[in-house]
Amino acid sequence: MTTLAVLEQREGVLRKISHEVVTAAQRLGDSVDAVVCGVGPVQGTDQVGKFGADKVVTLTNPAFAKYAPEACAQALAECAKQGGYRTIVFAASATGKDLAPRVAAKLGVGVAGDITDLATDAGAIVVTRPVYAGKALLKVKVTAQPAVLSLRPNIFTPVERPKAGTAETVAVNVPAGRVMVREIKAAPAGALDVAEAQVIISGGRGLKEPANFKVLEELARAFGGHAAVGASRAVVDAGWRAHADQVGQTGKTVSPSLYIAVGISGAIQHLAGMRTSKVIVAINKDKDAPIFKVADYGVVGDLFEIVPKLTEEIRKLHG
């Protein structure tokens, strides 16, 4: 049984999340074919064999210079049909969340989306997905054929399992579609998205005012490009931070290696969004704050003294 792993690229460079998709696809069967849509060769596809892809196919079309949802969906659906794949795996990234349902619908099925675990049980695929923002886990058997899955980012750690990884390029003939990405407005240089960051430093009302987030930004910088600054709903609703940064049930659900909650009391809807983080640190002046109940390590006190000291220590380590 061969699984189709759908990779992701931006501006001709494979996105790292693609390695997670290949790694997870490997767990389902004997072989993995990987596919990516690109305007031409995609840099990084030669690395995919290392993570267990037997074959990497680049589907090319002039429309694929930017994300072309309709053209990509059609090309991928045709690829899935021709290959007779029983399982198709996407990343539940911003693009994957948009693309997977389109491809699934063309194959006459839905998506088992945003999954955090997968296994096979007597030939059937069984997946786990957090629901109610992680307040519960739903385990479902996918009986739809084919099974279309999308993986929550940062859960399936890429594992090297070298395979041949033969490469193929196929020019596909699909219409460009009606929905066209005109441009991508880039976030400020160096800004990492909270959904994909390995380290997240989130701030809440305890920061007192928007300008004070600079102490968290300095700590993030000390991690040397691996850290993003997140925010609680309270401060996003107050307009201090962008919604893109919000962690919680009406924001992003994140699973970084290290989550540092600063001046966040820990409302249930916030805890729901970050409780799958591998290690949680809480810094708060109120020793009874609910955030300390989920934190592995807590420091009680004035964040304006603690955070700069922590920044200094992290800088020494990364110095």
């Binding site: 957090p130 009606r178 407005k185």
Partner: protein, 250 residues
Amino acid sequence: MKIAVCIKRVPDSETRVKIAADRKSLDEAGMKFVLNPYDEFAVEEALRRKEKAGAGEVAVICLGPAAAQETIRTALAMGADRGVLLQADKIPAYPFETATVIATELKSTSWDLILFGRMAIDDYNHQVGPLVAEQLGLPCVTAVSHLEIEGTKGVAEREIEGGIEVVDFPLPAVLTADKGLNEPRYPALKGIMAAKKKPLEVKPVQPGGGGLEVVALTPPPDRKEGRIVGEGAGAVGELVRLLREEAKVL
């Protein structure tokens, strides 16, 4: 402008989740339900578009149990004109079935815009909008956080990792709303009173049951009891040591 907004009744985000005795579903007793927060952005956007056009209709469509009438009334109180409850005792676990029921209802009218929330905060599926769009053959933009419409041309912005995509699309279209699109209004007392008299049609539906089979609904594993490392900046040295040597994340 003729606009349909597809909404969902979901447990309030501050609600604690209780799992039912069958270990496959929620124990809904005593739970508070609300209009899905992302759908509020969709309803608000529809109202603003209609107000701007100066004419038209905003219809809200909801697949749900009888109690979802209350959810529809919330949208009517915000200002929507009429509601349709596609009544089913059980919401399908498989979003494809949900999409099929909703698409069937939408087919009977020609809409300029069909709006959804980006996702429901209960099942986190973020796919019923695009599935419906595919079934209706309409263009679709998901997770829209900014929108401009001129005649039959639309420009939407959607957030991606580390940036914002600016997307051109033609109307009619299916859009899913993200936070940031607008600031939803609170229903005023006048709106709440008026909502009671607005038409709400109830249509029984029977969604199919295939695609996904629920094996279990379980609470997430408890996090290991943590500890307070200390107080103030003096505790930072020990914190860093623990993160390096014990947690091994530095």
